[in-house]
């Protein structure tokens, strides 16, 4: 059985074919095209043309994509969202979309309605749902919107009302996709609402991406199970992705981290992905990318759904190096893809990080004109580059102990043999296409993230039921029942809440069952 992994990034589209034992058969890198179909098809053509692999042997095809991120950032092809907040009589002091960038609000053409509903922190209703009120809302939204977002107060504690409302609108407005907040975000109504609205706004985009991916595969006679990479480093089925497109956002860096894990065989490490303009630093924890616990902005909108904990710094192979007064400055400007024209070692006029690393003897590139950098005072500048990365690594660690560091990306060789804070520095083979490898490899996961009041249930019972539910969710999503296990478990006490409530986050994952 062969796996095909495609990762569509902002600049490059990477592709990889993996064999029976997840060995790398072939890989390719090409420039991302405007239309999805062509870029993917080119990639597949290259892979099939340069191997003896039969298209019929490809059984799993996965796609990591930035299309949803781009749709939000560029405000393109977004759905008209009907926002239904179950909150009255609370909540009216902050209406939906209040803090959104104006241009995005204009593009969304959203209609929002607040109705009675929602829960207290302990799950007792603030108000019951009122069918007449829901009916009025449906009348108000019908014909004006093509996607719905339903958000209930304290739905991470109890999601019953949201589900009830979703059933009502599925009947009242047939064919309109519905996103409910309890399945997307965590505590913090506004941030969760924002994430749910964004999810609802991406329905058309994700559908289009899925159709084009299917079309590209069909054109090459590939009949495979289709999966999408999601931002926790696992896969989701095409059906699941079409309900939760927001989970594809930031799947690029997580695919890199997963790929790095596979290539290096390290379950716990810091992954440093050095590109042309930036370096992304992520954390590999038990084989999966660590999540951030902070609010994250997506396209200028504050959200709180799960996102990888990535720290980016302005350092890459093309980063410009210049003198300001008597001090050397490192970036953050970069020559980007024009590196091979502008860098000293390629006969250009701009001093870049690549020039400095070559002058320092750390990096070796064929055809580089090393004589051009002889006079570069690399002993002054090179430590600055290294220090930047070392500081960033340290920032991402959770303790002072040294930890393995995996270098991936085209600029990995910018760094020396050893780094401060690193127990070892690993540079795996095929590191340039780590993201496509990560996309091809993913497991299937199930996540439970919910608040549990400990008023009339014990801590042990809560954890036990959360674990059970996470495993079931993973199996439902397509994971192998016998091989699915808990990979992450955390709980946080919530300050000031009466009755000792805790936020529990449990993730289970297992390999695909085919």
């Amino acid at each position: 059985m062969i796996r095909l992994g495609i990762d569509v990034g902002g600049t490059n589209t990477d592709g990889v074919l993996l064999g029976q034992n997840d060995d790398i058969i072939a890989s390719t890198k090409s420039v991302t095209t405007k239309d999805i179909f062509t870029g993917i098809e080119n990639n597949i053509s290259y892979l099939l043309d340069h191997t003896t692999i039969n298209a019929a042997d490809i059984k799993i095809a996965t796609l990591g994509t930035t299309h949803c991120t781009n749709a939000i950032v560029e405000r393109k092809s977004l759905n008209k969202v009907g926002i239904i907040r179950l909150c009255l009589p609370s909540g009216s002091a902050v209406p939906p979309l209040l803090d959104w960038p104006e241009d995005l609000v204009k593009k969304l053409n959203a209609v929002s309605v607040m109705v009675h509903g929602g829960y207290e922190y302990n799950g007792t209703p603030i108000s019951q749902l009122d069918r007449n009120e829901l009916k009025k809302a449906a009348d108000q939204l019908s014909g004006k919107v093509d996607s719905l977002a339903i958000i209930g107060v304290f739905s991470p504690v109890l999601s019953e009302q949201e589900e009830q409302a979703a059933r009502f609108f599925a009947d009242a407005m047939p064919g309109i996709p519905i996103s409910i907040s309890s399945q997307i975000g965590s505590i913090g109504l506004i941030e969760r609402e924002n994430a749910t609205i964004l999810n609802a706004a991406l329905m058309t985009t994700i559908k289009h991406v899925a159709q084009e991916f299917e079309r590209a595969l069909a054109a090459k006679q590939i009949d495979a199970n289709i999966f999408f990479g999601q931002n926790d480093g696992t896969l989701m089925t095409s059906d699941f992705a079409q309900k939760y497109p927001i989970y594809t956002i930031a799947c690029g860096p997580t695919n890199s981290i997963r790929g790095a894990a596979h290539l290096s065989k390290e379950p716990n490490a810091i992954v440093v992905d050095i590109g042309g303009t930036t370096t992304d630093i992520g954390v590999l924890s038990n084989g999966f990318p660590r999540q951030t616990s902070l609010a994250v902005e997506v396209g200028g909108v504050r959200t709180n759904y799960r996102m990888p904990d990535i720290y980016s710094i302005g350092l890459g192979g093309g980063t410009k190096i210049y003198k300001q007064g008597d001090r050397w400055q490192v970036g953050p400007e970069s020559v980007g893809y024009r590196l091979t024209e502008e860098a000293y070692v390629f006969g250009g006029q701009t001093l870049t990080a690549t020039d400095v690393a070559i002058a320092a003897g750390s990096m070796h590139i064929e055809d580089a004109q090393t004589d051009k950098v002889k006079s570069v005072p690399s002993s002054c500048i090179y430590p600055l580059l290294v220090d930047k990365v070392e500081q960033a690594i340290d920032r991402m660690k959770t303790s002072a102990e040294d930890i393995p560091v995996i270098l991936v990306g085209g600029g990995a060789d910018l760094m020396p043999e050893s780094l401060k804070g690193a127990s070892t520095v690993i540079r795996p083979e095929h590191a340039g296409v780590a993201n496509a490898i990560g996309a091809a490899l993913g497991d299937i996961s199930g996540t439970v993230e919910r608040i549990y009041p400990l008023e009339d249930q014990s801590y042990q019972d809560v954890i036990h039921s959360a674990r059970k539910e996470a495993i079931q969710l993973a199996i439902d999503a397509g994971a192998h029942p016998d091989k699915t296990d808990i990979i992450q478990q955390e709980d946080f006490p919530l300050a000031y809440l009466p009755g000792n409530a805790i936020l529990v986050r449990v993730k289970a994952a297992g390999p695909l069952k085919l």
């Binding site: 609370s90 909540g91 803090d99 107060v153 919530l494 300050a495 009466p498 000792n500």
Partner: protein, 364 residues
């Protein structure tokens, strides 16, 4: 600052997070409430303490309870007004000016929303000059004032008025009512005259928060770092610059307590700073010697962005500048120290003012 603009409100929310000394609840939701209120009801006029008529009736408004509830069960506009109405009814008075009781954290902007929707001006001053966890920790209490009538309201339209005998009872009773209301409420208490306000309010704190926020949110263009400029304005002290290397937190009695250890950088190289917190940062030690003690203000700022870091948001590896500001003189009195000094929070130190500690540190 005669009228609050949307920009002012954003700046106040950042400044309020600094004055929140690590606690006080995330001002973001207060920011949104104030923003929504002025968009719907129009601008809010700011009056300074000096401008107050002696007979003016000034009423503080604040949120009480769990910030985790406030960010989910957001108040309604009606709820923001209900305690004010209940207070006026119970006391048979009319309110002329709304004031924040606590400038640190989310409570800096909730009263702005209350003022906007009732067409009342907001007072440039508060009764803490920072954030504190308990309701009796206000300058009114230090001056021997009683809360008088306290009115507590929720989103259902419930309003409860109580007549507690003192600040401690106000805290105890209002807290119970708040829990029954689902863990979050809006409270109006300590209604005072303009004359009393001139004596007991810490003046200028709203515009101070705005100024801090404006400084920290501007791009660094001048040679003087925004943090340095802020220290000048607040007569503050840079206590430390370093990296968080160890953070221990636990929940005790509904409060987040703990310690954070920082290893020094730059001019503080090879020194160690220990920070003690209970919702707010309350005590800082460098190499075993105290360098700032509550009620003086301690704030932790991100070294790169200058943005304040809360006690909950503090993580290993954070690079921070730790600063401290002298508390208002009212807090440095015997009763002030008794109410919110180190002993009250069970730290085994006598209160020593920040400036004295700084001089001792130089001698060492």
């Amino acid at each position: 600052m005669n009228v609050l603009t949307e920009q002012d409100i954003k700046h106040i929310s950042v400044g309020a997070a600094v004055l929140g000394t690590g606690g006080g609840g995330d001002p973001y939701i207060g920011n949104l409430m104030a923003l929504a209120a002025i968009r719907k009801y129009g601008p809010v006029r700011v009056v300074t303490v000096d401008e107050l008529d002696d007979n003016a009736r000034v009423l503080p408004a604040s949120g009480m309870g769990s910030p985790s509830v406030l960010v989910e069960k957001i108040p309604s506009f009606e709820q923001l007004s209900a305690p004010l109405k209940a207070y006026e009814q119970a006391t048979e008075t009319k309110t002329d000016v709304i004031m924040p009781i606590e400038i640190g954290g989310v409570n800096s902007l909730i009263p702005v929303a209350v003022a906007a929707m009732n067409g009342l001006p907001i007072l440039d001053g508060d009764a803490m000059g920072r954030a504190f966890p308990e309701a009796q920790m206000v300058t009114f209490h230090l001056d021997g004032l009683k809360p008088g009538v306290a009115a507590i309201g929720d989103e259902q339209g419930n309003a409860v008025t109580i007549r507690p005998v003192d600040g401690f009872w106000a805290e105890k009773l209002a807290r119970q009512v708040t829990i029954a209301m689902g863990g979050s409420s809006i409270v109006c208490d300590y209604g005072i005259s303009g004359k009393q306000a001139k004596q007991s309010v810490i003046p200028g704190t709203l515009s101070l928060a705005r100024k801090i926020g404006a400084l920290l949110t501007t791009q660094v263009t001048t040679d003087i770092h925004p943090i340095t400029q802020m220290l000048d304005i607040l007569e503050g002290v840079k206590l430390f610059k370093g990296k968080a290397t160890l953070i221990e937190r636990r929940i005790e009695g509904g409060f987040t307590k703990g310690e954070a250890t920082f290893e020094g950088m730059d001019e503080f190289n090879s020194q160690t700073c220990k920070l003690f917190f209970q919702n707010e940062h309350l005590l800082a030690e460098v190499d075993g010697h105290p360098v700032a003690i509550t009620p003086d203000l301690i704030a932790v700022l991100d070294e790169e962005t200058g943005m304040p870091i809360t006690t909950e948001g503090l993580k290993y590896g954070a690079r921070a500048v730790i600063v401290a500001f002298p508390a208002n003189e009212k807090w440095r009195t015997e009763i002030g120290i008794q109410t919110a000094g180190p002993k009250y929070f069970k730290y085994d130190y006598e209160y020593i003012p920040l400036e004295t500690l700084a001089k001792e540190r130089i001698k060492r």
